[in-house]
Amino acid sequence: MRKSSAATELWTTLPKPRGPVMKHILGQPLGALGLVLIVLGFVVAFAAPWIAPYDPLATDYGNAIAPPSFAHWMGTDSFGRDLLSRILFGGRTAFLIGVSASFIGCTIGLFVGITSAYAGGWVDAIVERFMEILLAIPITVLALVLVSSLGRNMVYGVDLNLVFAIALPIIPKMARVARSQALTIRNLSYIDAAVTLGFSDLRIIVRHMAPNIFGPYIVMLTAFISQAILIEASLSYLGLGVAEPTPSWGLMLAGNAFNTSMTAPWIVIYPGLAIALVVFAFSMFGDALRDVFDPKARADR
């Protein structure tokens, strides 16, 4: 008798019931890790004034370029400022600018994309060409040009022009995704139904189309937070982002940090690690979200 290979015993026990949270964590371990890191980062950055051991701006030239010790866990920089405190405060800058820039860019992009898909015809053609022009310019170069030409515009300690410069290159990328999604939704009969019910165009776009692109929107939003943090860091590194002495991770890598890094590697290692960790966390979380929102990837409806 041949060994059975296809026909098998049937299952007799039901699968263990699991809560929805547990199911997602089991399905997306990296995404869950990303989420934990993001939450941790937010808490730490928010609580920076209370948990930072030193004033991030206080200089102590007698104790400059000190290696990590019990007094300074991550050492000090060439001005004798405590690195740990600066990284904690730098997290505030990174999260604030990253989240706001990504939010502004993605939200504008969302509505640009939907409107162009909904309107169609020449409106669509013109908007699309304009978006392509924006896409053609490398993201950092575009931000560079904007920041250097617009100068600074500080509101509540945030450079609005910097936020806008980082948000602008995000708009066409989001618009593209939103447009392709909107084109599919446009052909579903509930949009036809909304038209035949006599709803206004604005209502159809805001109430009926935008919420159905929420999934891709959230995915893009998280993915671009990490990009925005990276751009902020690189602009700061180039001296065009956050101004000294405000702590910023990019800024901490800039200036003479590079020169001293041979002798004092902790000056570049810790801020670099902070950037890498946060970017990794947001990317992983964004990927996991995409899997959750992508209907094809979902095994059980």
Binding site: A6, A7, T8, W11, L188, D192, L197, G198, N212
Partner: protein
């Protein structure tokens, strides 16, 4: 009468106690339960049932195409010519698949590889499974194409699938299935994606091939009329089990199981006098996640008793099997309660009058698609106009232009003294309130992110029909009651409802605006048979209660006959015949209407089998329609004069107009 295969003959394919389970993260679905059936040589065996009954899954299991052991398991025996191949290892199974047992899928558009010529795709299984060289394989492929009715097979061998129409592709798929002389072919809804005239061609072909070559064919379908016309034996599935099986004559004439009987009475039939109301089965087919324990049909069954809580054993008589505690004993009534149906309404006034509606699409290089050409019809006040035609005939375009979702090229559509097609923005908003729509696919016609309450309340608030949230809430409850849904449904999201319930919500949304005219765009074609009857009765009740007029677009003639007062038949962008229901179905005049009626599979054993009115060929491209009468290329009555002029409508009565010079 065909020679019935000897009942004692050894079956080619024998399925015994097949069970299939699916497991996802948190659910265990036992989709197929103890299914057993036999297929003998030269026999067409139908597996029939509504969505979710397990008919497709059971055949995938028979093909052993459910292979992931972490998510699916199955048990039982499937013997092909006496050998149980469920126990073979996958490598040997691969040799069997395609050679001894072949499959034809539903969707001919996606079951062929678009990057390979048709000829190669037919030759591939032969080169894989048979000891045959390329030249011989090519010879055989050409021969197969000829046998499945592809003209000019030598040339078409080297064409790609996109150069074939849907019906032709399905013929190619059949040729591939036949290529290795299989013993058994499994056809999963082979004609569901095709038009009724093409469906008749394909099934006639399949039946002839089965009788000629002696293969066994398993036909999976939801359409009982197809079973009646083409199959030898039938297995009715419900809730994962075969609940009744036997020869087609026995089962369809004298169903024993309550479900089979209910289903047969729920289908609108062209061969019986029209009943005023369709018989319905209450409730809805069970979801595979929650098959009721005991007899799966008991929650919907009028005759259910406490005994139905346990699984009924098969009652086996000579050639029959059924699993029911309370079998139907009488012969199925062959006539509906047609007492009330006798009265034909006469309609005085017209609610919508369409004249010369034309819609052309301009493509690149000056090509023009004449989607709709000079279409005229009247919708009677308080009555229903049925607009029938096959896919591509322009009925959807007519609807979309009338709803102003698209602009018309020319024509008028007078509604309440106003031309819809030229109405300005403000008039249009007022018109939209009076003309509402019910869409075909209930899964896409409701916004998935809104609760039912807000879907129904939003238009009321936007148009100021309800002044406050509270008023709207009361109206929503009233609307749900009107379409037969409990008020709790307001809190649900669309995906938490069944297809039939969603369609009711779609109707409620249309009713909210107090419209005069409702455009029903194929409102029942995406629904299961038992649900279809419920929705059609609901539409009829609402019409009687609220005095609504309907424009009812459909491709199913039996459905159209049931619901319409007046019918317009479209072909390739033109209306070829308009008549009252009685006129059209008793004395169809236009050759196309007659062919369409003949192509509809009928329950009557002898009806429609003759070749007299069958049309051959396929729909010409609307890019380049035939000159003169558009139907002349497929018309059995065509003469030279048909190519010269577009036939003007000839009036046979006040209501009966036929655009044909030969009638």
């Amino acid at each position: 009468m065909q020679a019935r295969p000897d009942a004692a003959a050894e079956p080619l394919l024998s399925v015994r106690n097949l069970n299939v389970q699916f497991r996802s993260n948190d659910r265990l679905l036992h989709i197929v339960r103890d299914v057993s059936y036999d297929v003998r040589a030269g026999e067409l065996v139908a597996l029939v049932g509504e969505s979710g009954c397990g008919k497709s899954v059971s055949s995938l299991a028979v093909m052993r195409l459910l292979s992931d052991p972490t998510t699916t398991r199955f048990s039982g025996e499937v013997r092909l010519a006496g050998r149980d191949y469920l126990r073979l290892p996958e490598s040997e199974m691969r040799r069997l698949r395609g050679r001894d047992i072949a499959m034809v899928f539903q969707e001919p558009m996606t079951s062929l590889n678009p990057l390979m010529t048709v000829g190669r795709q037919i030759m591939e299984p032969m080169l894989e499974h048979l000891d045959i060289d390329r030249a011989a394989a090519r010879e055989r492929a050409i021969d197969l194409l000829k046998r499945v009715g592809v003209t000019d097979p030598k040339r078409r061998m080297d064409q790609y699938p996109h150069e074939f129409s849907g019906g032709m592709r399905q013929r190619v798929v059949i040729a591939i299935a036949l290529s290795c002389n299989p013993k058994v072919i499994i056809a999963d809804e082979p004609t569901t994606a095709l038009d009724v005239t093409i469906q008749a061609q394909i099934l006639d072909l399949l039946r002839a091939l089965v009788k000629e070559t002696g293969v066994g064919l398993v036909l999976i379908t939801h359409n009982l009329a197809l079973v009646a016309r083409y199959a030898d034996r039938v297995n009715v599935m419900y809730g994962g089990r075969i609940i009744e099986s036997g020869t087609v004559e026995d089962v369809l004439r004298q169903p024993r199981h309550r479900y089979t009987a209910g289903l047969l009475m729920a289908v609108p039939r062209l061969d019986l006098p029209r009943a005023a109301r369709l018989h319905t089965i209450p409730g809805q087919p069970p979801s595979p996640a929650r098959f009721p324990s005991g007899c799966a049909f008991s929650p919907r069954c009028g005759a259910a008793t406490a005994a139905c809580g346990s699984v009924p054993a098969d009652t086996v008589t000579r050639d029959r099997r059924y699993a029911c505690f309370h079998p139907v004993v009488d012969v199925l009534p062959q006539e509906g309660e047609h007492a009330a149906a006798g009265a034909e309404h006469t309609f005085g006034t017209t609610v919508l009058s369409v004249r010369g509606l034309t819609r052309h699409f301009h493509l690149k290089r000056r090509a023009v698609v004449r989607a709709v050409e000079d279409v005229s019809f009247d919708i009677p006040q308080g009555g229903t106009l049925g607009l029938v035609g096959e896919s591509g005939c322009g009925k959807t375009t007519v609807v979309r232009t009338l709803l102003r979702l698209q602009s018309a090229t020319s024509g008028r559509a007078d509604f309440a003294g106003q031309d819809i097609l030229s109405a300005g923005k403000r008039d249009l908003v007022a018109l939209r309130r009076q003309i509402q729509v019910v869409y075909q696919d209930p899964s896409t016609s409701l916004n998935p992110r809104h609760r039912i309450a807000s879907i129904l309340a939003e238009p009321l608030l936007v148009h100021g029909l309800c002044k406050s949230q509270g008023e709207a809430r009361a109206r929503v409850e009233e609307l749900l009651g009107l379409v037969g849904l409990p008020a709790e449904m307001a809190e649900r999201y669309p995906h938490q409802m069944s297809g039939g319930q969603r369609q009711r919500v779609g109707i409620a949304r249309a009713l909210g605006m107090n419209p005069r005219l409702i455009v029903c765009d194929e409102p029942v074609s995406a629904l299961d048979v038992s649900i279809q009857a419920q929705i059609m009765n609901l539409l009829a009740d609402l019409q009687a209660k609220l005095g609504l007029s309907y424009l009812f677009v459909a491709h199913d003639l039996a459905v159209v006959r049931h619901i319409s007062d007046v019918v317009a038949v479209m072909y390739l962008g033109r209306v070829v015949e308009t008549a009252t229901r009685a006129e059209l179905f008793s004395t169809p005049r236009h050759p196309y209407t007659r062919a369409l009626l003949a192509a509809v599979p009928s329950f009557a054993a002898d009806a429609g089998q003759g070749p007299e009115a069958k049309i051959t060929g396929e729909l010409p491209s609307p890019l380049n329609p035939p000159s003169g009468c558009v139907f002349r290329t497929r018309c059995p009555m065509a003469v030279e004069a048909c190519a010269k002029v577009v036939p003007p409508p000839v009036a046979f009565s006040d209501t009966h107009r036929v655009a044909c010079i030969r009638v």
